[in-house]
């Protein structure tokens, strides 16, 4: 037995609900927490758990992802015998179109999986920000004799498209159900990260593909529940699922909580990202910054409160940034005011301009726009 994991990540998913934020990019390459892309969290968790063979399945707009990952060196994945493999969209000869769901997508990488020496697979989306110890989860998976271990966490059903898990006292999954209506009730929610035995996954995907199934969760996982060998692993620390603008904004703001930062970054399991060699951030004489998360390379001479500031942002004198997310290379010029907004990369807020969204509906300003 080779008790190790090969990982398959889906770079795309939920783009339609992330609106302007994913016009130019995949969900995986969505900037998050000041200097990261969402995929960094999954990649780093895997690497920190000793997983060195990682395949990433893309569907569209994946050039930003390729530019971010390059050869995988920043995650120590530039390996001779394993490392990172990015799969561009594969057009099936039979359908003459790009794959529709996870089953077709997995079908296109079966050769890669079959060749991999690892006996277990981690299948994951890239819209999760969490620091996960896959090593411990695999040990648990093996000890339980599970067919599949589903990662989950306790949270409010704050978005549609969540899968709710019901389990028994031994963590055996007894029911899975997809919700369409959000509620404030706290439930056990799937993180869409699965650990499976590789040969089992391959046979299930082949069977499902042959029958024309599309949805991995509904057409495969839900049906397996009856077999009683699907287990849930509850992730104890912070985990964010980002699948629409509202969850993106809310989860970003939660990184201002000390406890959340500690659970994401405060361990020796570091989160890696593309190194850009920015200088440290400069605070000028008129800077007033409180409760904010600020990346390197910024020049700040204005007021910043309750905000996430990415690398190389410039906040000029008299400018006020509140409850906002300013992505890389953003500029808020003199006396510009911005609150409850998400400005994408290279957005410029002109001198004296005022932009204001609301807590429940933050404004998104598209990449490269000048306001």
């Amino acid at each position: 037995m080779n008790k190790k994991i090969v990982a398959i990540l889906f770079a795309s998913g939920n783009e339609s609900k992330l609106n302007e934020l994913t016009i130019h990019r995949t969900t995986a390459s969505l900037p998050f927490a000041g200097r990261y892309r969402l995929i960094d969290f999954t990649l780093s968790s895997l690497v920190n758990s000793g997983v060195t063979r990682i395949g990433i399945i893309t569907r569209n707009n994946y050039s930003s992802l390729m530019d971010h990952i390059r050869m995988g060196r920043d995650w120590d994945l530039n390996r001779k015998n394993s490392g990172i493999a990015v799969f561009p969209p594969f057009v099936l000869n039979t359908s003459r179109e790009v794959y529709k769901g996870k089953i077709e997508a997995l079908y296109t990488v079966l050769d890669y999986l079959k060749k991999a020496p690892e006996d277990y697979v981690c299948v994951s989306n890239c819209n999760i920000a969490a620091n996960i110890d896959f090593d411990a989860i695999l040990d648990e998976h093996i000890a339980r004799g599970a067919d599949c271990t589903m990662l989950c966490h306790k949270a409010c059903v704050n978005s549609s498209k969540r899968v709710i898990i019901t389990k028994d006292a031994e963590d055996r999954v007894t029911d899975l159900c997809a919700v369409e209506i959000p509620s404030d009730e706290e439930r056990l929610i799937s993180l869409n990260i699965y650990i499976l035995r590789k040969d089992l996954l391959i046979s299930r995907v082949e069977q499902a593909y042959a029958r024309g199934y599309v949805d991995f969760e509904k057409d495969v996982l839900f049906k397996e529940v009856a077999g009683g060998k699907i287990f849930a692993h509850e992730h104890a620390g912070y985990a964010a699922i980002v699948d629409d603008v509202k969850t993106y904004y809310n989860e970003s703001m939660r990184t201002l909580e000390t406890g959340v930062r500690e659970e994401l970054f405060g361990t020796d399991r570091k989160v890696y990202t593309k190194v850009k060699d920015s200088v440290p951030t400069v605070y000028k004489d008129k800077a007033k910054v409180v409760n904010s998360f600020i990346a390197d390379g910024c020049i700040i001479n204005g007021t910043v409160e309750n905000s996430i500031i990415f690398r190389k942002v410039r906040i000029e004198e008299g400018a006020v940034v509140r409850n906002s997310i300013i992505m890389e290379h953003g500029i808020v010029m003199k006396d510009g005011h911005i609150s409850y907004a998400i400005t994408d990369k290279q957005v410029v807020i002109g001198a004296g301009r005022q932009i204001s969204g609301s807590e429940t509906y933050p404004i998104v300003i598209v990449k490269n726009k000048i306001v």
Binding site: A33, V275, T281, V282, V290, I294, D296
Partner: protein, 400 residues
Amino acid sequence: MRVKKECVAMLLAGGQGTRLGVLTQKVAKPAVPFGGKYRIIDFTLSNTINSDIDTIGILTQYQPFELNQYIGNGQPWDFDRLEGGAFVLPPYQKAKSGEWYKGTANAIYQNIDFVDRYDADYVLILSGDHIYKMDYAKMLQHHIDKGAACTIAVLDVPIEAASRLGIMNADDEGKIYEFEEKPKHPKSTKASMGIYIFDWAKLKQYLIADEQDKSSHNDFGKNIIPNMLNAGEKMYTYDFSGYWKDVGTISSLWEANMDVLDPRSGINLDDPDWKIYARNTAEPPHYVGMNAKIRNSVVSEGCEVDGEVVNSVIFRGAVVEKGTVIHDSIIMPDAVIKSGAEIRHSIIGWNAVISEGAVIGETQKAPEGGEWKIAVIAPQAVISAGAKVAAGEMIQEEGR
């Protein structure tokens, strides 16, 4: 791919840097942190790669482990090449003998084989303890244009400073006719920056001859340069203008860090055409708390700042708790400043802990002609709650 390199750089990183006291007890001077996220050596390494020189030997014999680990395969500076790259070269046991580097020239002498391996035409000699940005490619072109055997980079210094430095006396063409070490009555204000380009074949001759001379100090400044001048070799100055600072003392290290805060100082680190690279430590962005007041300072990744920080440099991973006051100071990586501590005109070493209410250093008026009195806390030292450390005091790791 050709193995031959037109120019190989040799970086003299052997010095202990005793004048930096507790900061260089466990690391060599080039590995001392600088400017929020860098180490002193990053400037020379970045200059080298930015000048399209991709092969560099780093000569070290004092605490080599830290430097070796820091440089690794050279990847952060783009030195991970198929042929060439960055090599840490400590002294090694040879067939007949083995010895420490006796002097700067001897360090190169002991590594003649390394330079020969790349069949270099020119060798660039650097030192790893200066903060500056310089295009060595331009200096090399100057060397070639002049047909020189040796070119020495010089900086115009104030006449008062000239008597503390090595001064090059040259004619209008820049041809050197005399070299004076710390002259009482300087004839020129062109000070050597310790940056030399030699024709390798020529230098090799002089290194071999110098090694035969048992009375020699085996030093570039004391022996090789004077010997070449006496023999009538063509030696030229290369004028450098711009920011340049020797950070060999506590007060110059402190001043150079303060220069990072001053846009008029001329050291612009944020230059996309001349980036300074450093090994990255994968820290998250820094978090600024509810009670923070940060002005005229630089703060790097991984810090948590909740106190008052004015005119200071906060290195990566440092923690500044609520109610602290930090003025005109340098807080090195992963240091922890607990609530109520006051720090003025100080350097706090990496991983040091300043406990609650401790007072380090004091506010000073700009000294006239002299140097600032900078309090220094050793790396890893723990300063107990309420302790007082006077201006200019240096505290060992055992703390107080």
